[in-house]
């Protein structure tokens, strides 16, 4: 009897010591973690930003400047894509939800309404500038000069039958640029571009392909009659190898262009800007991608960039107003600001003033405007 008691005591001791060994540091840490977790629950001391991967390179520069020149913590920025950003942003008000979302397109009415349903009633819209989408090739070759119609004909999955009646579509027969347009060089169509998940691809399809498709009167008419069919024709990129999905990594596309002088690549203007020694932008509708041409809208493949601010957070998260001030200051987004060095195309002075005012006064957006 006595033996069993000592044995039991020993075992208990053993189990105890084991659990101390096994869980000792763990037992200590969760206590710590809970404490700090509670602290962060009650107040987050940094700004949380999500959204577009196109705006990411600009927002991060501002965030870094802001973090280094003020006493606030540097904002945390996640690159989730515009749609993913809105989804996180509109989930609700409270410190577990992001404060700002970046977007390479305007907020959709449905997204705005969803925010309102979740309690995010006051959203401030700030336009920050423009981004150009370029088609570029290696400097070893002649620069391309394309029209949007050429782009559509070269890259769409189905194109209007050149010999057939109006309304007839055939699988894209064009093998070389010369087939598309006799003025273009006799080179194989080979375009490296982003995959369907990319915002750049969305914008390219919308600004380049869709506009090109509208050059055909009957397709343009289709937009009103049968929107889905119109989208299917104008938004579907060919899958027979002429368009090569090169992944989200734009640097990789640049490297591949350098190695293959016949290929064209599709990416954001900032990558052209950083690699002017290797690649050149193609003329689109006669305009070469350059700061001025994108800024004044004469280059057709350009789109505005935005970010959206949750007004309810402006009072609770420290540094929100100061971050907005930094972003909307002329030294950041002005004609000679540091964002232009990173490839952002600035807005006109009037537009800048308008949105700087909106940032200062936090004028909320109404869903009916969209």
């Amino acid at each position: 009897m006595k033996k069993t008691v000592t044995l039991a005591a020993f075992m208990l001791l053993l189990a105890g010591s084991l659990s101390v060994i096994g869980c000792g540091p763990k037992a200590e840490q969760p206590a710590n973690e809970n404490q700090t977790a509670e602290e962060t629950q009650s107040a987050r001391d940094y700004i949380s930003i999500v959204g577009s991967s196109t705006v990411y390179p600009f927002a991060t520069v501002v965030a870094e400047q802001f973090g280094k020149t003020t006493d606030f913590k540097t904002p945390k920025i996640e690159s989730t894509g515009s749609g993913g950003g809105f989804k996180l942003f509109s989930a609700g008000v409270g410190i577990e939800h992001p404060d700002i979302t970046n977007a390479s397109r305007r907020i959709k009415k449905s997204e705005c309404e969803m925010s309102a349903e979740n309690g995010v009633t006051e959203v401030v819209e700030i336009k920050i500038g423009y981004d150009g989408i370029v088609m570029a090739n290696s400097k070893k070759a002649e620069p391309f000069s394309l029209s949007r119609k050429d782009i559509f004909l070269a890259l769409a999955k189905e194109v209007p039958d050149p010999n057939g009646a109006e309304g007839a579509l055939i699988a894209n027969p064009y093998k070389t640029w010369k087939d598309v347009n006799p003025e273009l060089p006799d080179k194989k169509i080979e375009v490296l571009g982003p995959p369907p998940t990319s915002g750049t691809r969305d914008a390219f399809v919308e600004l380049g392909m869709e506009a090109g498709a509208k050059e055909f009167a009957w397709i343009k008419d289709l937009k009103k009659k049968d929107k889905d069919r119109f989208k299917q024709i104008s938004h579907t990129i060919r899958e027979d190898g002429a368009y090569i999905e090169a992944g989200e990594n734009d640097n990789l596309i640049v490297q591949k262009l350098d190695a293959n002088a016949d290929a064209l690549g599709i990416f954001g203007f900032s990558f052209l800007d950083q690699n002017t020694d290797k690649i050149q932008g193609a003329f689109v509708d006669g305009v070469q991608p350059a700061f001025s041409a994108i800024g004044d809208g004469s280059y057709p493949l350009s789109r505005p960039l935005f970010f959206y601010v949750k007004k309810a957070h402006a009072g609770t998260i420290p540094g929100m107003n100061e971050y907005l001030e930094e972003f909307t200051s002329d030294k950041a987004w002005g004609d000679e600001g540091y964002l232009t060095e990173k490839g952002l195309i600035p807005m006109s002075k009037e537009e800048r003033e308008k949105f700087a005012k909106a940032a200062q006064e936090l004028t909320p957006l109404s869903c009916d405007e969209l």
Binding site: G22, A37, Y56, D71, I77, Q274
Partner: protein, 436 residues
């Protein structure tokens, strides 16, 4: 030797005229030897092929990345006069302005506004932060001149490292002819040189390549791994011991076993989705933190650890168990006193393999917000943090040319981290291992 046996066999078969087993053996012998030789050559070839690939990979990483350990610095004499520093609040002084004045002092002949802008862009924007830090640490009294080695802009750095050519037309490089002339002036004055890049090992992420560092990601990885280890090691081993030693053999345990084996093969992004749904949305844990990242990675490594630990427990000879039971130990005593210490080296190996896998993961972290731009260096488990593979991914995606070499350098740091983790495992195994 084989020749002589073949010879004698041939003779004996010729004399007797009957087919003997040895003849059949001898007949096939040559081709069997050939087969074995071929097999060995195949094996050797595959080893050589993998060694070549590995060597190619490593050398390309090292070749691309070694230059990131150096950074171009420019010596700048910064005159600081009274009144330049804000007396009440030195933090609010215009340090950028002071640096710009110092640059203008050094190049007095540059006056055009457009030119001065180009001139400033030779220097990194980090110069002002460096001056700020220095001034805040020991505020200057009266008029002094502070001599600083400030980082050069990433384009200048690329030029100095030879990644940008000087002899091509102006339009084909990112630095203008004027900027090249200024850099040449700095070179003749011996004011520009490449030095060891301490920033890379001490700073967090930055959008300026010359200011970007890996330390924030290293610390993020460290905290995440601690959470993973502290949770997965005890849980994994307890599960393995129970399943191997105590669990009754029935359908339920079979079911659990099959599931654990399957879990080890589940794509890691699935664990990220689980983490998002359970830890972030349901429990409301803070996003982008090592705490959540560690828990998600723990889920991923658990199956690996359990499987390896069970194999280690199985490998303990039954004689040990029986001997211990024979002298009257209880089952718990047998396990804690004899089986577990003997199986521990194998369990440690499994744990380290699981941890090494976790260290290289980005996919599950994407869902819980750890793929993010984070400048501040994390100080704890609930600070937002990135981990090393995430940092590599983010840099590989940045447009600036100078990030290419930094990406490779970050890979080298990650590999060093992995190698040292494996070294710890090997040492521990050697220390605890017991042979019979």
């Amino acid at each position: 030797m084989s020749k002589s046996t073949t010879g004698s066999a041939a003779r004996s078969s010729a004399s007797s005229g009957r087919v003997k087993t040895i003849d059949i053996v001898n007949k096939g012998l040559k081709s069997r030897y050939r087969k074995e030789k071929r097999f060995r050559v195949y094996g050797l070839l595959s080893i050589i092929a993998s060694a070549v690939f590995l060597a190619f990979l490593l050398s390309s990483i090292v070749f691309n990345g070694y230059s990131a350990f150096l950074q171009t610095y420019i010596k700048l004499d910064v005159p600081v006069k009274t009144g330049m520093i804000n007396e009440q609040n030195p933090r609010r002084s215009d340090f950028q302005g002071i640096i710009k004045a110092a640059i203008r002092d050094y190049f007095p002949d540059v006056t055009e506004r457009k030119d001065t802008r180009e001139l400033y862009s030779i220097f990194s924007s980090g110069a002002a932060f460096q001056l700020r830090e220095k001034v805040l640490k020991n505020p200057p009294e009266g008029d002094t001149t502070i001599s600083l080695w400030v980082p050069a802009d990433d384009d200048v750095d690329m030029l100095m490292k030879g990644h940008m050519k000087r002899d091509v037309p102006e339009s084909e490089r990112r630095l203008s002819d004027k900027q090249l002339r200024w850099i040449e002036k700095l070179e003749t004055d011996k004011r520009i040189e490449k030095r060891f890049n301490t920033t890379f090992f001490t700073a967090g992420d930055s959008r300026e390549p010359e200011l970007a560092g890996i330390w924030g990601a290293v610390k993020g990885s460290f905290y995440t791994m601690i959470v993973t280890l502290v949770l997965s090691f005890p849980i994994g081993i307890a599960a393995a011991v129970y399943l191997e030693e105590f669990a009754p053999k029935n359908i339920a345990t079979d079911f659990i076993e099959v599931n654990i084996n399957n879990l080890a093969a589940v794509p890691s992004i699935v664990f990220g989705l689980l983490g998002l749904a359970v830890f972030l949305n349901f429990f409301g844990m803070p996003r982008s933190t090592p705490l959540v990242g560690g828990i998600v990675l723990m889920l991923m490594t658990l199956p690996t650890i359990i499987i390896a630990s069970r194999a280690a427990l199985k490998a303990v000879p039954p004689s040990i168990r029986e001997a211990a039971l024979g002298v009257g130990s209880s089952k718990l005593q047998v396990i804690t006193g004899h089986v577990l210490p003997l199986a521990l080296p194998g369990m440690l190996t499994g744990t380290i393999i699981g941890m090494a896998q976790a260290l290289g993961e980005t996919a599950p972290l994407l869902m819980i917000g750890m793929v993010a731009f984070i400048v501040d260096i994390p100080g704890g488990f609930t600070d937002p943090a990135a981990v090393m593979p995430v940092q590599i991914y983010l840099w590989a995606d940045s447009p600036e040319r100078a990030f290419v070499e930094r990406t490779s350098a970050a890979i080298m740091v990650l590999l060093a981290f992995l190698v040292s983790m494996n070294a710890v495992a090997v040492i521990m195994r050697k220390r605890f291992e017991r042979r019979w």
